[in-house]
């Protein structure tokens, strides 16, 4: 008699059905978290990860201190000379810019505009390259008074992103250059308001009609009473068949090397 029924077929079918049920349940749970933007585990995982991130920073800082002992006197002297020259150049530039900045602030004050910003210094705990999302973590959170939407700047002038999630002692920052992110910016010097789209890796693009004059080196800023530079135009792409031009611009800030940021807290 031909055996159509084999015990192994039934058990492997059961295993397959079990797996399907598990995958479908997982998909439903993830979809719920995604749609509601609420993940009950995010606080817990951040709480566990935070000491590791801070530990890494401490180890790296110690490593930099120790590495100094292994450098030759000649290389240190050479680097010292280059850096001293650079400091003199930057001091001169800073004097001029300081004067212009002061004049700008005085004019704004005369016109009755308050330009004081409440900024909170934050250390960068993780780098954006840890994930494809274009996010990084900082070491200030709810206990420092920051909130979702607060802008994050580097060196007081270069805006990089905004606070996306806030935890007790840490916060997640989403870069404006995250793929597909859109932000309103002003093109300098024409002051034209445009929409910039993030392309990842501190890169952006803007699509404009061909007739609008744009040059490489022009700045794009966030329209605000205080100057906040988003990026500098690097390339302008014009195809003969198209009535548009695509402006590619990039933030001058490389987040891989940034250690400190300022969070501008809206009062």
């Amino acid at each position: 008699m031909k055996m159509n029924f084999h015990p192994q077929n039934k058990s492997s079918k059961r295993v397959l059905i079990k797996r399907i049920i598990i995958f479908v349940s997982l998909a439903l749970v993830l979809a719920t978290f995604n749609v509601t933007h609420f993940n009950p585990f995010s606080g817990l995982f951040n709480y566990i990860a935070e000491p590791f991130w801070k530990g890494r920073q401490a180890v790296l800082a110690f490593g930099v201190d120790v590495s100094i002992f292994f450098r030759s006197n000649k290389s240190l002297a050479g680097e010292n000379k280059i850096l001293s020259r650079r400091i003199v150049e930057l001091e001169r530039a800073a004097l001029m810019e300081g004067g212009l900045f002061k004049e700008n602030e005085e004019l704004k004050a005369l016109l009755g505009r308050d330009t004081v910003q409440h900024t909170i210094l934050a250390a960068v705990l993780t780098r954006p390259f840890l994930s494809p999302y274009g996010t990084f973590m900082v070491d200030v959170g709810r206990d420092s008074g920051i909130s979702i939407g607060d802008r994050v700047v580097v060196d007081g002038t270069f805006v990089v992103g905004a606070i996306n999630k806030v935890f007790q002692k840490t916060a997640q920052v989403k870069l404006f250059s995250a793929p597909g992110e859109k932000i309103n910016v002003a093109l300098v010097p024409s002051n034209l308001l445009v929409v910039a789209e993030g392309r990842g890796g501190s890169n952006f693009k803007v699509t404009l009609p061909r007739g609008i004059a744009v040059s490489e080196g022009d700045a794009l800023v966030i329209p605000d009473i205080n100057i906040q530079i988003l990026g500098i135009v690097e390339k302008i792409s014009i195809t003969p068949a198209s009535s548009f031009q695509i402006i590619y611009f990039k933030s001058p800030i490389n987040m891989a090397y940034v250690k400190w940021v300022q969070v501008i807290h809206a009062l």
Partner: protein, 87 residues
């Protein structure tokens, strides 16, 4: 021995999520799934997404890219391992 190796791989995955580029994490997870029947990479994917995930327009606002990718990896690995002479 293989249990210890599996534990080491899990620790390496955790470390990769916390400190190393995301493509290295994916590579490590791929190696892990081919070394073992490692369904736990889905958990690690969920951890990575919970730590770093956010809706991104270019990715259709899906916050669980790592989790989905690792599920796909597992689904692909099962029949592939059966057909590979190495196994």
């Amino acid at each position: 021995m293989s249990l210890w190796l599996r534990i080491v791989m899990n620790i390496a995955l955790a470390g990769s999520i916390l400190f190393l580029p995301w493509w290295f994490t994916v590579l490590l997870a791929t190696v892990h799934i081919f070394m073992f029947q490692a369904y736990e990479i889905i958990v690690w994917g969920f951890v990575a997404d919970t730590l770093y995930g956010t809706p991104i327009p270019a990715y259709y606002n899906i916050e669980f890219l790592f989790t989905l990718l690792f599920v796909v990896l597992i689904i692909l690995a099962i029949p592939l391992k059966r057909s590979l002479i190495f196994y």
